[in-house]
Amino acid sequence: MNTGKLHEFVEKLKAENAVWVADVKDARGEVTVTVPRESIAQVCRVLKTEYAFDMLADVCGADRGPEEEPRFEVNYHLFSTVHHSRLRLKVLLSEDEPNVPTVVTIWKAADWHERETYDMFGVIFDGHPDLRRILLPSDFDGHALRKDYPLRGYEPYSLT
């Protein structure tokens, strides 16, 4: 895919506010922009209103491992129904303060994606209207997709 247009967007973003873009990566036809967590909501709003990224395709977390710093990533996959290009925004979070502003106010689609990320990684989306567990039961202990969570859980498996 041609990434020329995406770089144009990123350059414009940089010109608007230099703080917004911490890092830009172009690999395998995909552009990844690392955004400081304080400005993610602002960047998303600008991308949606000015650059026609009107659809949030996906939000997913990732754990780099307990000894890494920053430990968590949250990836936002933006899509445009107008020019059909994709952009990935990345926010890096530390284990001590895994908080990031929500983007539910910008795309309603973020609702369940953010709940899933919270459920699996324990990332807290500040301002989310209904941040509950979604896939795992509400009394589940821990966050299953963290690297230090064992594959078979802490307790022996039982059907009763």
């Binding site: 659809m55 996906d58 997913c60 129904t81 990935r88 795309w107 309603k108 896939l135 795992l136 997709l145």
Partner: protein, 406 residues
């Protein structure tokens, strides 16, 4: 034993109370029309739905965690079990993400076979949708006719891969094996009969007045809302947005096929129904074109360290045997990086986020299931409708809980 008669409210009093106050109804998780283990918490005023809260997770099996403990080629088997009505679509999304990381080039014949099977699978998936959707609304006979067509496709998939519901036919770098002898004839036979079957569905379902009155104007979602909620696939095209990743972000050579993207403007259950019915014909067209294009050629990429060698090669060549042993025992290393690959599955955009740290097992695999996102928009469509219509709306979303809960 006596009961104080004055303490029991009269039958009519109970009825009056129910009409005046709201009640909460737990629909599911074992309700037949919720298509699996989905629970809806419906707040009702009489029969009017005031609030819908979907409750999911009953089928959660921790697939995304499991991927991190399996080698890349072992992950394909897990994807079969996600959207179990569209396993080949899941295979394709996963395999293509890995191929993107590995930078593999897939030979022409493998691409054509992939496209052909994905479209056959789309028809099979839509057949289940049509059958169960009609069954939910009260038409029983289309179910049998639809499943008869689906059975023919499953037989074709079985002939090629050995599995009906869990084919794992697409592999990283190509296909598991070539098509069996006589496959083209059997596929042609299916294609010859299919347009007549489509006409049959149109007369059975589309022209039915009860069907029309149960679906028209029900569960409306506007184009802006649909995009905001991230709807994709037939649900989005039913709201008048012309978006199809096969045309707009083409992969596997879809740009070379001649097909149309059906769009209906109304955004109701009927519009989503019409989009899928018209899509069936487009898929049929693509399968026919793919079948014409089938030319003999390799079905695996030229990457001996990634793709398993043919059995015949292993008997003759020492290095093939070594590669086979190494791939099975240790897997192959995938270069560091991350990709997001999205395909147009039968239910919408199926995206795979795959992150590699350079080893033989992925660091993170995340699936963006179309059913997951489409179901999130159920409250918007169902609030303000009748309880009986919620069943019709769920049917029109075409959800599979295996993919939602993963």
């Amino acid at each position: 034993m006596s009961i104080a008669v004055e303490n029991i409210p009269s039958k009519f009093e109970v009825l009056d109370q129910a009409l005046e106050s709201q009640m909460t109804l737990s629909m599911g998780p074992q309700h037949p029309s919720t298509h699996g283990v989905l629970r809806l918490e419906l707040q009702l005023d009489g029969e009017l739905v005031i609030k819908t809260v979907p409750d999911i997770g009953y089928l959660h099996t921790g697939m995304e965690k499991l991927f991190e403990y399996k080698k890349y080629q072992q992950g394909i088997v897990i994807t079969d079990r996600m959207d179990y009505l569209n396993p080949l679509g899941n295979n394709l999304a996963y395999v293509m993400a890995a191929e993107k990381l590995l930078d593999l080039e897939i030979p022409e014949r493998a691409q054509v076979i992939r496209v052909m099977f994905c479209e056959l699978q789309r028809i099979a998936s839509h057949m289940v949708w049509l059958g169960t959707h009609a069954l939910d609304i009260g038409a029983m006979s289309p179910f049998f006719y639809a499943f008869r067509q689906r059975e023919k496709i499953l037989n074709l998939i079985e002939a090629a891969s050995g599995g009906r519901m869990t084919p794992s036919y697409f592999r990283i770098g190509g296909l598991m094996m070539d098509l069996p002898a006589g496959f083209e004839r059997r596929c042609k036979q299916f294609l010859e009969d299919f347009p007549a079957a489509l006409d049959q569905f149109e007369t059975l379902v589309t022209g039915n007045t009860i069907w029309q009155s149960r679906t028209k104007g029900i569960g409306v979602i506007t184009a802006e809302e649909a995009i905001d909620w991230g709807l994709t696939g037939p649900c989005l095209r039913g709201s008048g947005v012309s978006l199809d990743l096969r045309r707009d972000n083409p992969y596997s050579g879809y740009e070379t096929y001649d097909f149309e993207v059906p769009v209906e403007p109304d955004g109701d259950v009927w519009a989503r129904f019409r989009v899928r019915m018209r899509e069936l014909y487009e898929s049929y067209k693509i399968v026919r074109q793919a079948l014409e294009r089938l030319k003999p050629g390799p079905i695996k990429a030229d990457a001996p360290k990634i793709v398993l060698p043919d059995r015949d090669d292993m008997r003759k060549h020492m290095d093939s045997l070594i590669h086979h042993f190494l791939i099975v025992a240790e897997g192959f290393n995938v270069p560091e990086g991350e990709v997001y690959h999205a395909i147009e599955a039968s239910k919408g955009e199926l995206g795979v986020y795959m992150k590699s740290n350079g080893g033989p097992k992925p660091d993170r695999v995340h699936f963006r299931g179309p059913s997951f996102v489409n179901l999130a928009a159920l409250p918007v469509m169902s609030e303000g409708e009748m309880v009986a219509d919620v069943v019709a709306i769920i049917g029109s979303l075409d959800i599979v809980l295996g993919e939602i809960d993963r």
